[in-house]
Amino acid sequence: MIRDITIGQYYPSDSILHRLDPRVKLIGTFLFIVSLFLFDSLYGYIAVAVFLVTIIKLSKVPFRFIAKGMKAIVVLMLFMAFFNLFFTPGNTIFQIWIIKITDNGLRQAIFMGIRLIFLILGSSLMTFTTTPNQLTDGLEKIMKPLNRIKVPVHEISMMMSIALRFIPILLEETDKIMKAQMARGADFESGGVLKRAKSLIPLLVPLFVSAFRRANDLAMAMEARCYRGGDGRTKMKPLRYQNRDYLAYTCVLAYFAIVIALGILENRLF
């Protein structure tokens, strides 16, 4: 059951989107998410949908693969739809007892749902087309200016990439410890919430001990390989903008401008 958890699912392929600089994808995704909240008309939704479909086609990630990832948020969507549907004030169009559905509620539920789907689609497309390493590299480069206000940017990105490297190792270890404890009669599955939480202690204690031991070993190995922080370090794979990256920036900005224009047209922004 533990193996089902995947973080930073990367879909290996050789599309133009995969080859883009991670910074473009990070900034593009950010602008895309912002753009989702700048309009409230049907035309806006159509514009976003067209943009999204184009990007998905370009990414060469099969739609079924993306749809599989959406399963995880079904509960969240239902939850949101429920609250929007029943608790938004407006003209009642349907009522049983104290439960009533208003026109605004219905509209909100549908449109917020679509927005959420767009949001998840857009951001998961970024993780599908970018390896975790590229992501941390991109983040490090984008955040670089924060170094001046004493944010340890390099250290944060190093921690992120080490965490990514050790997630599968620790998952495997969890599995192993779990089996070892089960072989000695530990029971992780029955009982109430409290009992189950308690039964995790014999799993978590050895896991933490081993994680600290690994951290200690790794720190020593890094020091032995002359690691001394980000200063004076060079990069094996430095990020450099190519022509396609500038083109991508132009496309994203054009999209952003269109959405803003639509927003202004419907007098939502000002």
Binding site: P168, L218, R225, Y227, T234, M236, K237
Partner: protein, 284 residues
């Protein structure tokens, strides 16, 4: 000049109670002297707790001497200004292959050392390619380390050290967590680096069959060097080795027992081939 010189080295682990008073002093290394020439293949043998790993960590300036000193290529490890140059000169490979690989792609991990040294990008690529080729892992350059076997991971770790162009590699029980095939792979790689690239090798282990190719063997027990000599010299003294909680290679032990039982065999047989030759001679 010696590659590595250890003189009267003593190291104490001091255990303190909660108020900071000394509770007990444990001498992990007790007055050790050791000279390693450039290009040598040295093996340090010892059972658990004999102080061999502690000694290794002194060469890489991870631990500092309580008394005495260690010089790497003439640089004193106790002086802080030498720290990074020492670590670059004497690279270190550790026991657990998982806990020393930093990146999620093989080639990026090999590039980690040169990146830290500030090597220009173009040269990093050249070094990565060369070191991966030297350990025979070039075809796995784009793989994830999680998909490799233990022996392969350890070879990647060795490549990561080689990419820093060290003159000396210290391997701290590199095969302790590997299966027999992985062990063979790693030892063959280390021998080849020693011969082809003329890298000084210090191999720390408790597997006897790994030291038979070494130029010189040191046997440690309770923090002291108890025996030193060529593998053949060491393995003629099977009884003494056993006293230090170590085992001679199986063939050596067989030959030793045969000799004790009256078969006319020479001393210090190290490989199966040697034993066969010796027995053939007797039959004639």
């Amino acid at each position: 000049m010696e590659m590595i010189k250890v003189k009267n080295l003593t190291f104490e682990y001091i255990r303190r109670d909660e108020e900071g008073n000394v509770e007990s002093i444990n001498k992990a290394i007790d007055n050790v002297n050791l000279d390693v020439k450039k290009g040598d293949f040295i093996a340090i043998l010892g059972a658990n707790g004999s102080g061999k790993s502690t000694l290794a960590k002194h060469i890489n300036a991870i631990l500092y001497p309580t008394d005495g000193g260690v010089w790497v290529n003439g640089m004193n490890t106790a002086e802080e200004k030498n720290l990074w140059e020492i670590r670059q000169t004497a690279g270190m490979v550790f026991q657990n292959p998982d806990n020393q690989i930093i990146a999620t792609v093989v080639e990026e991990d090999v590039g980690f050392g040169p990146e830290n040294l500030g090597v220009p990008t173009q040269e990093i690529w050249e070094r990565v390619e060369k070191s991966l080729e030297a350990v025979g892992m070039l075809e796995f350059r784009n793989s994830s380390p999680n998909k490799l076997s233990g022996g392969q991971k350890q070879r990647v770790a060795i490549a990561g050290i080689m990419a820093m162009k060290p003159q000396c590699i210290v391997l701290d029980e590199p095969t302790a967590m590997l299966d027999p095939n992985g062990r063979k792979e790693v030892i063959a790689t280390v021998r080849e680096l020693n011969k082809k690239e003329n890298v000084t090798v210090i191999l720390i282990t408790h597997h006897m069959d790994e030291v038979i190719y070494a130029d010189k063997v040191f046997v440690m027990e309770r923090g002291q060097v108890k025996m030193e000599g060529t593998p053949r010299e060491i393995f003629t003294r099977v009884d003494e080795i056993k006293k230090y909680r170590l085992d001679a290679p199986q063939v050596t032990e067989l030959a030793y027992e045969l000799k004790k039982a009256g078969v006319n065999l020479p001393d210090g047989i190290l490989t199966v081939e040697e034993l066969i030759e010796a027995i053939k001679l007797i039959k004639k």
